[in-house]
Symmetry: C2
Amino acid sequence: METQIGHIASLIGDPVRALILWTLLDDKAYTATELAISANTSPQNISMHLSKLVQADLLTVERQGRHAYYRFSKQEVAYAIEAIANLVPVEQQKKIVHSKHNAAIKHCRTCYDHLAGNMGVSIADSLLKQAVIIEKGKQFELTTKGAKWFLQLGIDTKELQQQRRIFLKPCLDWTERRYHIAGSLGASLLDTMLAADWVRRTKNSRAIVITAAGEKKMREYFR
Amino acid sequence: METQIGHIASLIGDPVRALILWTLLDDKAYTATELAISANTSPQNISMHLSKLVQADLLTVERQGRHAYYRFSKQEVAYAIEAIANLVPVEQQKKIVHSKHNAAIKHCRTCYDHLAGNMGVSIADSLLKQAVIIEKGKQFELTTKGAKWFLQLGIDTKELQQQRRIFLKPCLDWTERRYHIAGSLGASLLDTMLAADWVRRTKNSRAIVITAAGEKKMREYFR
DNA sequence: TTCATAGTTAAGTTCAAATTGAAGTGTCAA
DNA sequence: TTGACACTTCAATTTGAACTTAACTATGAA
């Protein structure tokens, strides 16, 4: 029995696999490529790791066409990971608080040209909280503080406002049923994040993956 | 955070450390040497592993004279290990049942010259169940089947019965408040187990440690 | 004091497991 | 049918962590 426990624990213990499991903690299915990006490793390597996790029945695969979707095989896997997370020494726990928020924004999609899904909604929330934007009636408005905030990211809001396209508007996300930022401002926010490699597009789908570097930066800017 | 989880999991994941943690699961304190014996490795090596576990705050040490007593630093450690144990595939779960019994007999002592404590009581129970011995009034009696059983272990019961010393009697263990096997039969059972390296005496105490090999054998003979 | 024991520390070796590189299978779209 | 893509497999390489050998500290008993 000790042997089996050791085996399971060592599976969770590898840095790459820990990242995989952490990513899957939102209980959604991810493709091998998505996981490779978020764990920052090669496709061959992620494939090797995933097959080990499947063999130990921590994960299951579902194959659809040329994609392989990986997810937890049972809830108990998440429980075990949370129990381990619970052992992380207190000095290092500050990071957990942010990470929990992170976990919530892990799954995200693009809505036409701007960020939607959990992530888009979370970003909109954060910007409202930081008074970068404010709600006016059924619209969003940029504050003067907000203009400076976007300038930090290299986004010139004055220039965007002169374009013909609608500058800023709330967009209702049908999965979240809450608002996120659309319009030219939302689009250039996404462009900036893609350019800075905070997030990457996956081919053939509207899914977006957050890179390791992006996670840090987003914590900084969106709390 | 993922990194921390990976770190903790890899600490649990090492075979030797998994054995240490499994041993400590009864929530008692063990010395380094006791743990070295039950994990079947060298003192230097166990010391290295223990210091890692202490540094990660999974264990705490208490030093008394020249002994170092190790125990879980908090209950959460046991929870995490149980959560991982919970992930062991069903085909391999049969072993758990035995192991739970095992955990129960892990802590044991000697009573004069025979096995007492949890282990002594468990062995007595097993021998009664297997009809190696039977209860007659307030005494134990060896069955003919039992004589053969002891012969398997290389113990000649006929010879023992001719000695002046009392052959077989129940002995009440004050910690367990239940009976175990004393008399010359109990003594030679312990001798045999020591000779076969199923268990070892620790110096300076009445404690007895079960070796890895002993665990297997005892499962075989005592179920 | 001397000797044995419990435990730790440090340097060197060994080995298993992650990674990389190269190549192959199957799917989808032009 | 061709090429791009998603994923996997296999051999070759690298590397990090466990283990070993050796030496040292501290406690306790003769």
